[in-house]
């Protein structure tokens, strides 16, 4: 039986109008499609201005969509029943300065429809959970950026939502705190909650997310599991060889411009991409035939950051060249 996606976005578009007479159009989302399944930790990546926050705001109904479809927990964007089951931590959120940690939770819990009794019952454990157990009675004016992020997370969790949407959640949080946060997210995932993270801290996304989508200029350029994103399309092999450099250049068909990095004991190292395994085998045979010793061969793998940068550069190119291109097809991962 197919499982209902928690977030389902199809061809989502958002065009802002700007200028004195709203004549300038800014296309923030240009047809975004992807899904997020229940129990996933999903990362949304993209450079500044890619449309990440707009996408979240459309999902929550804070901003109206211009086209396409989206659903949040089975409800249209902004539907009150959908919002009731979402915990949202906005980027650079502001909690009014007249609050303490406790009263802020009373306020936001009340807004989520919780009774004061319920809020008071849940509050101590929740503040402990985000590491603010001792700070409940302190005015938020005295909170550091990291503490405000923790309090923001606490208000997002207060009403026990099914889906957490976190926009730059670890902004301003110290490394220890970040590790704690990651542990917390994993625990929430184990409890069956879905977590949607929008972050520019790629290492963090790599460490916790099951799947990611990379948004560039309002379009999804890549979406899929981390492994699939970081895996390379062509095989990259780094060779460590001992032998005549002219032979090596000839066999590996290296142009004069390609440097051969010399290491100790007459060893040289070079990285090459090959179309397939047969091509690698041919290189091995030819090198051996010329008497070149093969010290080591290691296949290469990208980091998420490299994959992200590659994707963004590609996206930039295509945005400049074919900006009218339609939706990027969903890749792998979740299907209905």
């Amino acid at each position: 039986m197919a499982v209902e996606p928690v977030i389902d976005i199809h061809e989502l578009r958002k065009t802002y109008r700007d200028g004195v007479f709203a004549r300038r159009r800014v296309e923030a989302l240009r047809g975004v499609t992807f899904q997020v399944g229940a129990g996933e930790i999903f990362g949304l990546l993209g450079p500044n201005g890619a449309g990440k926050t707009t996408l979240i705001k459309v999902l929550l109904g804070i901003v109206r969509r211009s086209g396409g479809n989206a659903s949040l927990l089975g409800y249209p964007p902004g539907h009150r029943k959908g919002r009731r089951q979402v915990g949202y931590l906005p980027e650079n959120h502001r909690i009014p300065a007249h609050h303490t940690g406790n009263t802020a939770l009373e306020y936001y819990g009340g807004l989520s429809g919780l009774s004061l009794g319920e809020i008071k019952r849940r509050r101590p454990a929740l503040l402990d959970l985000v590491g603010l157990g001792q700070w409940g009675k302190t005015s938020v004016k005295k909170y550091s950026k990291g503490m405000l992020q923790r309090l923001g997370l606490a208000q997002a969790l207060l009403h026990d939502p099914k889906l957490l949407i976190l926009d730059e959640p670890n902004d301003g949080v110290d490394p220890v705190g970040r590790a704690e946060m990651r542990a917390l997210w994993r625990r929430l995932k184990d409890e069956g909650k879905t977590i949607f993270i929008n972050s520019h801290l790629l290492q963090e996304i790599e460490l916790v997310c099951d799947r990611v989508a990379i948004l560039v200029h309002g379009l999804v350029e890549r979406v899929g599991p981390i492994d699939a994103i970081t895996a390379q399309a062509e095989l990259e092999v780094t060779w460590t060889l001992i032998g005549n450099q002219a032979d090596i250049r000839a066999v590996l068909q290296l142009g004069a411009a390609v440097p051969l990095a010399a290491i100790n004991d007459g060893q040289v190292r070079v990285s090459l991409t090959a179309a397939d395994q047969a091509a690698i085998d041919r290189h091995v045979d030819a090198l051996r035939a010329r008497g070149v010793s093969i010290v080591s061969m290691s296949p290469g793998r990208k980091t998420l950051e490299e994959a992200f940068l590659d994707t963004v550069r590609k996206g930039d190119g295509s945005a400049q060249g074919t900006s009218a291109r339609g939706a990027t097809a969903a890749v792998g991962g979740w299907r209905r």
């Binding site: 802002y16 705001k57 929550l60 109904g61 804070i62 901003v63 109206r64 009150r80 029943k81 919002r83 009731r84 979402v86 949202y88 906005p90 980027e91 650079n92 959120h93 502001r94 909690i95 009014p96 007249h98 609050h99 009263t103 009373e106 306020y107 936001y108 819990g109 009340g110 807004l111 989520s112 429809g113 919780l114 009774s115 923001g152 208000q155 949407i165």
Partner: protein, 757 residues
Amino acid sequence: MRPYLAILKDSFREAMASRVLWILLVLSTLVLAALAPVGIKERTGIVFTANDITDGKALIDKIKRQQAAAPPSPGKQIWTLLSDDYKADLAPQGEPSPQASWPGAIYFRLPGELNTVIGKRELYNAQAWSGITLNDEARELLAGGIDRLDDEDVSRLNRLLLEAAYPAEIAASREKAVAITYFWWRAPAMPLAKHDVIAAAVHVLQWFFGSVIGVFAGVLVTASIIPQTYSPGAIDLLLSKPISRSLLFLTKYLGGCMFVLLNGGYVVLGLWLIAGLRWGEWNQRILLVIPVLVFLFAVYYAVSSLAGVIWRNAIVSIVMAVLFWAACFGVGSVKGLIEPLFLNPERLIKLVPAADGLIAVNERAEIFHWQTTNSAWEEVLKSSEQDLAPRPPGLILSMIGPVYDAKHERLLALPATARQFGFMPTDNALVVGTKQGDWERQEGIAAPVGTAVLLVDRQGTLLAVTPRGLSKLTGDPVATEPPAKVFGFSVPSAEGSRFTAAGGNLRLGTPLSAAIDRANDEIALFDTQTLRVLSPNAKGRYVQRASREMAENLSGVVAIGGGRVLLARANGEIDIFDSARLEKQETFRPEAKNAPRFADVSADGKTFAVLFHNRRLWMYDAAGKRPLALPISGQGDLSAASFSGDRLLLADRFTRVTAYDLSTGQVADRRRPDLSVLEKVYLFGVQPIYTVFPKPGEMSNVAAYLLTGSESATVGVTNDLQAARPKLDIWMPIWSNLAFIAVVVGLGCFYTSRKDF
């Protein structure tokens, strides 16, 4: 509901966390503490006013006679204490004659002289008062010895002594006097009711501290609430919660109003406590001012909130609220200046059908005759001074009459006096104009002192109603002899013409209202306490046929006709009596708490009309015994109403007169002079803008209404119903401000529900 309660609670928290609120509360406490030592003490009748002296002439004559006689008497005691000037002015008259009246200035100065006299400890002399019965209060005060009394008690005792000595000339004191103290300082007693003084004081205080300071501070402090709520980072968080955007805005708006509720509530509650604890007046009405303050603030805050959600900047919110205030102030001021200064004095207030024409009188007491040929009002009975002297803007005067004597085709009036200040006429010579004389002004003979109403009977006899009863004119009213100058006042006279007592021999209070039945010459009289019907006997003298005491002492206006008497009183109650026995037939209260100004009845006695101070007309169908609803236009702007045959004449739009056919209710004809430029600007520019504009400035009237319970009287207004009163429109500002709030807050809700944040 819970999320919105959370928002309200948050607003409350925000207000309590605001330093400005606490600063204002501390300042309010200081003000209240400064007010607490103010003492308001009420004393009964210490101060004499013109109304207290029911027969000035008789009183002066009596004092002079007693002074001249040998035995000790109150008159002798008074004489020694009168000012030398006054005594000198009285001296040349010699032995008082029953006929000759004293010059107006003598009467005018009398209350002041008596006030000086009763302030003196030397007034009482046991021998002088030996044969006079004193009441309990006076005996009690005397028992302890005059030396032990304080100044106020001495004044009170002396006043009681004078009342006992001259019961026919001095009214028993009903008027209250109020003395204000502050620590050891004591202000002179004022002839006002304590209730009125407290209402006025509370009104001024709450209005200044609540509205001016409170609303201004409120606008400053709350201006940041909405911009902060809608700032990036804060609004995202709120909108992600399961709440309605419109209700979020609305609740935040209401939350802002809480600030003023706390602050204004504190000040008003403090005033209420001071009024109760210090002044002994527990008036719950004072507390009603709290919602008025919040409502007033809500008008300004609506503008501030809308600006706040659009621009999300507190400074812009404040600027917009201030600009809005300036616009309201501007529109209100233009209307408030043009209307009372230039247009209200032009309003026609009396319409007198005369010799197949129409005579009208405006608020400035100028008399006009309608010119059909050029559709204009032409001023008649104009005095030579009127031509020369500029008419100051805003001047409102009242005249007694004019009445039209159909038999002699002449118009009679007692000219303008500043009646609204409670003065007696200083120059009480009649003015006369005849149709033959083309309504040229002719100086008439002097009317009796204290004349309050002029009436003309079917034979064309002029009757003057004074507090002593009726006088009728025999002979020609036009002065034939050059006026004698006495103390600078002209006393015109005519050979063989004089006013003689025509019956009644009454002691009436003031203000007086009287009307004559056009069918049988019966006269209805009302003097705040007693309603009387007087009938002429065979000798032409009037005798009282019926009388009825009213429970409450209130001024009123009367109309008589068709065997019925209509009495409309200051509390807005209209009673219909049968004229034979004055039995109450019906009671109406069409205008809630508005005071009536004029009452009239049609010649056939079938239709009565009462015009209220709020310029609304109420009519009564005597045959059907029910209120009559004619489709008349201009309700709320009607300034005069009168009957002419089977027609009802109504004045509106300052100088326009419309005649309605009573049988059909249709407009029979209209006398519409060309509008002046100012009238055009007012009617087609200022008035429409003013109507659609909110009126926060007029909420002061609502507060005054809540404090006094009267819609058309302000504190200190004379109880003479026919004098012009500022029209306090209570409901108009409420409705217009409510509509404004609804529109602006609605716009805010719409904007917030459509906006991408």
